[in-house]
Symmetry: C2
């Protein structure tokens, strides 16, 4: 296991020490493992929090800051955080206007965020949740009933976070979150597995000349395996189900997001983006905005995912709004 770590069970806690040292504008609760905006709670603003297993960095801790999240709760690698973390985060970021929970659709995350929401409500805090389930690869999966939440989560945290800065209400933000999720679709693929530090061996096996289409971000099984294809073939394999699921129409405008799983060089991600852009162009779909890089990862897995978000003026404006987080930053 070739990793830059000290001990498998200390990885997340020690990475949080590094986050805190690198980003003085954030505050880390090391006991509960929560990353906060330094200025939380922000007066007049609905709080927005998320969380999930570690190993997907920069998601979610790297999206804490002005214009995105008020707090993130990292679990152990590929393991849901606890209701205790989520409750503490909810209480701390509430400025009296309520707190939105952004939850990726995995059974553990759903269950623990629900429990935290109930406890927070019992303490008088208004809480709503928005669930992302944008992965079109499979209907049910290891860890998930229904579709998995993947790349749209990044775009939702950005756009809903921007709307929260504008002072929108909890109900408005929950509705906006539903809108983002329902206008987004994703699918991923893997060339290699990854190694969870506490396990010490690859999450799954994949032959030297095989790839898996429709992979989950924890290595959950996808749609099928086949011999490794060219970038052009892979692009068609993962784009066609995404476009077909909306279905997108000629003339639609999208944010096109090519995400790296962690172990694939940026050079290849740009090459893939070129293939995706070509396929969208051939279908008469306009690219309004783009994002290329490692934004929701699976440790050192090689591979990529494609997320499309159908844009309108509102979502475009929220995407362009200033953001100041370790993972996404512009306008400030």
């Amino acid at each position: 296991m070739k990793k830059l770590i000290n001990a498998p069970d200390a990885v997340v806690g020690e990475a949080l020490l590094g986050m805190e040292a690198a980003h003085p504008e954030l505050v880390v609760d090391h006991e509960l493992q929560i990353i906060y905006r330094g200025d939380a709670p922000v007066a007049g603003k609905v709080g927005v929090i998320s969380g999930g297993g570690s190993g997907h960095e920069p998601m979610h801790g790297g999206y804490v800051g002005m214009g995105m999240l008020d707090a993130a709760c990292p679990g152990a690698v590929f393991t849901s955080p606890t209701p205790d973390q989520m409750l503490a985060a909810t209480k701390k970021v509430d400025a009296g206007r309520g707190v939105l929970h952004v939850v990726k659709n995995y059974t553990g995350d759903i269950m623990n965020f629900e429990m935290a929401a109930e406890l927070a409500v019992a303490e008088g805090i208004e809480v709503k949740s928005v669930i992302t389930n944008d992965d079109v690869a499979v209907e049910d999966s290891l860890y998930t009933a229904g579709r998995r939440g993947v790349g749209v989560t990044v775009l939702l945290e950005k756009t809903v976070g921007a709307a929260a800065e504008q002072g929108r209400s909890l109900d408005e933000l929950a509705a906006l979150g539903e809108k983002v999720n329902s206008n987004g679709r994703s699918m991923g693929m893997a060339l290699t597995s990854c190694i969870v530090p506490a396990a010490g061996s690859p999450t799954f096996d994949l032959g030297d000349d095989e790839m898996e289409i429709g992979i989950g971000i924890h290595g959950e099984p996808g749609r099928y395996r086949e011999p490794r294809g060219t970038a052009a073939e892979i692009a068609e394999r993962i784009l066609a189900p995404v476009v077909g699921d909306f279905p997108l129409q000629r003339g639609d405008t999208v944010l096109a997001f090519v995400n790296g799983m962690g172990g694939t060089p940026l050079l290849e991600l740009y090459l893939m983006y070129g293939e995706i852009a070509k396929l969208l162009d051939a279908r008469g779909i306009q690219i309004g905005r783009s994002l290329v890089g490692n934004y929701i990862t699976s440790l050192e897995m090689a591979g990529c995912s494609v997320t499309l978000l159908r844009l309108d003026d509102e979502l475009t404006e929220l995407w362009d709004a200033p953001v100041n987080t370790p993972g996404l930053r512009w306008g400030v």
Copy 2:
């Protein structure tokens, strides 16, 4: 070879198609393989260009834009670009105040940039060069006489690029570049090799339980190999030579930059940053600014490097100045 590519010899050209599609504010000359700021030449500004082998993305193409480079010339993977590319870029970005070449110290890059500079001067363009040679690992190396240029190049392109936006002269920028290089030191390490697409097999072999300390960004030999250590041990192995080479003094303030080689998860890079911060603190060295992530990579190599840049008010202000490139963006 598990890569998202179509054909090994088409990788760079096709990645440039993706860069162009993803970043409409850039212009790509596909025939010569040059990435330009869309508004080049910028009136009243000295042009700043760089270039080098591909495979280190986002360096250099990802640093083209307001506040950094006016153009970047990518070569084939781990191969110097040609004088033709550099000459064309120099001519195009010259707005009458001359052009600065930022060159990493590798024999091919040095030779080709020198030739391009001579040809440009013969055509009446004023050209100066600044060479980075911040890698303290080894004195001479495969491809290099003297020290290799690595992580400081990113910081130099950012700070000198900001100074160029302020309207400083070519002489002033060249002097600033020398100042940045002389105040910066780096050292890297690898846990795994990487595969150059045209070669199809690993650049070097490294045992399952070995690491290489002092590795170059093309897999050039480092100082020594030893059994894989903990993050804390690795941090000390690469930080001590860097600090000792300046040498830094108690009370100095630095920009601390923990860079990923490409295949190491961000979670581990933050963990490493925490270890580096601890070691700097123990030496009484202040961290004024930080950078953590994949900024000068070696394809999918696992490992990291540490770069320290001694800061003063001038360099801090130039670092903080607005920048708008695919790889680094803030303030706009």
